[in-house]
């Protein structure tokens, strides 16, 4: 077997380990990722829709819908890779034992990315199904794309989480990362309002991987595709995934080996 296939197989074992731990507390684990978008959609989408005119021919709830899928992916990936990873690393010393087995830091990190890809993908699908039933998705085929885009979006968001986990000095500092990085990304990436009329924000948003995922999800949910734009956002997500993924690997390696 080649190096890569051995690595991937070992990384898969890390995914399985995470799944076994995760399913023990399934309801608690799944609740925030599903309840938050549902509440947001009810409060903002259904609550505000009557007061807000149409946006690009969409009701506000329809406008908001794909952003909820992206939000699920962002929070699933970020919290799993920041708090989740940090707790496993620091309080549970999971890696102290894991790294004495054939698993190396590379497999740990690849395993984390696979894990959040799958989790975020599944969550995106679940949210998508809810949206479909609420009649908020113009194009049912989009439902097939949600898990893919959601999973893809989870990789750079997870990498930000891992970077946070490798740089914070204690668990409280995640609050700072959340307030000054994740919250702005979440609120200002086109989920709640179109960036087209806000040139400065529109430019800043380009450096947020989340924005590119939001756009891809919006295009699929609204069935409003622009080929050039698709390629651009996929490319940007790929670049963010590769660069942030590599950076987080290097930082975690420093953290787990001395």
């Amino acid at each position: 077997m080649s190096e890569l296939s051995i690595s991937l197989q070992l990384a898969w074992h890390v995914v399985v380990r995470n799944w076994i731990v995760y399913r023990k507390d399934f309801l608690a684990n799944i609740s925030p990722t599903l309840a938050d978008p549902a509440l947001m959609l009810t409060a903002l989408g259904l609550g505000l829709s009557p007061f807000i005119g149409q946006i690009n021919g969409l009701s506000y709830a329809q406008y908001l819908a794909p952003g909820m899928v992206a939000t699920t992916a962002l929070f699933t990936a970020f919290f799993e890779c920041s708090y989740g990873f940090y707790v496993r690393m620091t309080y549970e010393s999971v890696f102290k034992a894991m790294l004495t087995t054939p698993i190396g830091v590379r497999e740990v990190v690849i395993g984390e990315f696979l894990w959040v890809f799958i989790r975020a993908g599944l969550m995106a699908l679940c949210v998508g199904v809810v949206l479909l039933f609420m009649g908020l998705i113009a194009n049912p085929v989009a439902l097939l794309l949600f898990p893919l885009i959601g999973g893809f979006l989870a990789v750079p968001c997870g990498a930000i989480g891992l970077l946070a986990a490798s740089y914070v000095k204690n668990i409280n500092q995640f609050q700072t990362v959340y307030s000054f990085l994740i919250a702005p990304i979440f609120y200002l990436s086109g989920v709640f309002f179109p960036l087209a009329d806000r040139p400065v924000l529109a430019i800043i948003a380009q450096i947020s991987p989340f924005y590119h995922g939001v756009r891809l999800l919006q295009m699929s949910a609204w069935n409003a595709w622009t080929p050039g734009e698709i390629a651009y956002h996929i490319g940007a997500l790929a670049v963010f995934s590769a660069s942030l993924g590599w950076w987080s690997y290097v930082s975690i390696r420093k953290k787990l080996t001395t």
């Binding site: 051995i6 023990k24 549970e92 034992a97 894991m98 790294l99 004495t100 698993i103 080996t257 001395t258």
Partner: protein, 320 residues
């Protein structure tokens, strides 16, 4: 280091094979401080080698270097002929490690924990369960198979960490303070298992603070201090070299009276809160005892602890 060499010459039948672990001039810097410095060490197949040394002497750092958890700053190191900084996985496929912390998955049951680790060790699903059950029974943990880790006592957790290390039937077992904090019953059980493992021709490297444990289990002791090897040899050889004979332990107040009666061949030194007299025979010690009208707290053959305290500079020598 003349002693080390003579010791190594003594065990020639081992030296004909290639060492499993070979360290030459290994150093590790943590910022400015040297955790390991010019460390030379060989571990041969079938040997049990014990690393002794004060806290911070570099024992765990060295062990971490062996499977790539710690990257050495200098020197040559090979395990099964592989450099752990480059090919850690090839090494880790063939070793079992009991780390200082058990690091078990608290949320999972005993069996689930082992299933996860069997997968990591490349054991197929069908082979894993019988292997796990066999080892759990071996460590008298079979009745706890479905308990969550939280429900286990410290001794049970430690035994489970042993099960985990043995899952993939490793050629070398690395034990970092295997019995620290355990009650004597569990300690004896673990010693028995280590001896049985050795009997199968396997190799063991362990660190410990218990001299008795080292003397009982190890063919060879390596004493580390400040990141380097101070001396190495079979336990009896080390005792014969550094602290031969018998030791009497007395109360501090007896020091002057003992000194007055000290005959030649006897050595008096203070060791923390106690005063020790070392001599060639038990008779010589009882003679001093009656001549000085003192009563020893203990009269015993010299052991590894005397060697350890002497070599690691923790006997605050009276005659220095």
């Amino acid at each position: 280091m003349r002693e080390t060499q003579s010791t190594q010459n003594g065990a020639t039948e081992l030296r004909e094979q290639l060492p499993v672990i070979r360290a030459r001039n290994v150093g590790k810097l943590f910022g400015e401080s040297k955790a390991l410095a010019a460390l030379d060490l060989d571990v041969f197949p079938g040997e049990c080698v014990g690393l002794l040394g004060p806290n911070g002497a570099g024992k765990s750092t060295f062990i971490g270097c062996l499977y790539g958890a710690v990257l050495r700053s200098e020197g040559e190191l090979s395990v099964f002929g592989h450099d752990p900084a480059k090919h850690a996985r090839l090494i880790k496929q063939r070793i079992g490690v009991v780390p200082q912390e058990n690091a078990l998955d608290e949320g999972l049951t005993v069996r689930e924990n082992m299933q996860v680790y069997a997968r990591f060790g490349g054991i197929g699903k069908e082979a894993a369960l019988p292997r796990i059950d066999e080892l759990l029974a071996h460590m008298s943990l079979d009745h706890k198979r479905d308990s969550p880790i939280k429900a286990l006592s410290g001794g049970m957790k430690r035994r489970l960490a042993f099960v985990r290390a043995l899952l993939a039937d490793p050629e070398v077992l690395i034990l970092d303070e295997p019995t620290t904090g355990l009650d004597p019953t569990v300690r004896h059980l673990l010693w028995e298992k280590v001896l049985a493992y050795r009997q199968a021709g396997k190799t063991v490297l362990l660190t410990t603070h218990y001299m008795h444990e080292a003397e009982l289990l190890c063919d060879r002791i390596v004493i580390l201090n400040r990141g380097t090897v101070v001396d190495a040899g079979a336990p009896r050889e080390l005792i014969a070299q550094h602290a031969p004979g018998f030791v009497g332990i007395f109360a501090k107040e007896d020091k002057e009276r003992l000194r007055a009666q000290l005959s030649s061949g006897l050595e008096l030194y203070q060791q923390g809160w106690q005063v020790c007299v070392r001599g060639p025979s038990l008779q010589a010690l009882t003679d001093v005892q009656s001549a000085s009208s003192t009563v020893a707290l203990q009269l015993r053959p010299a052991n590894l602890e005397d060697v350890y305290l002497k070599l690691t500079g923790q006997d605050l020598g009276d005659n220095e």
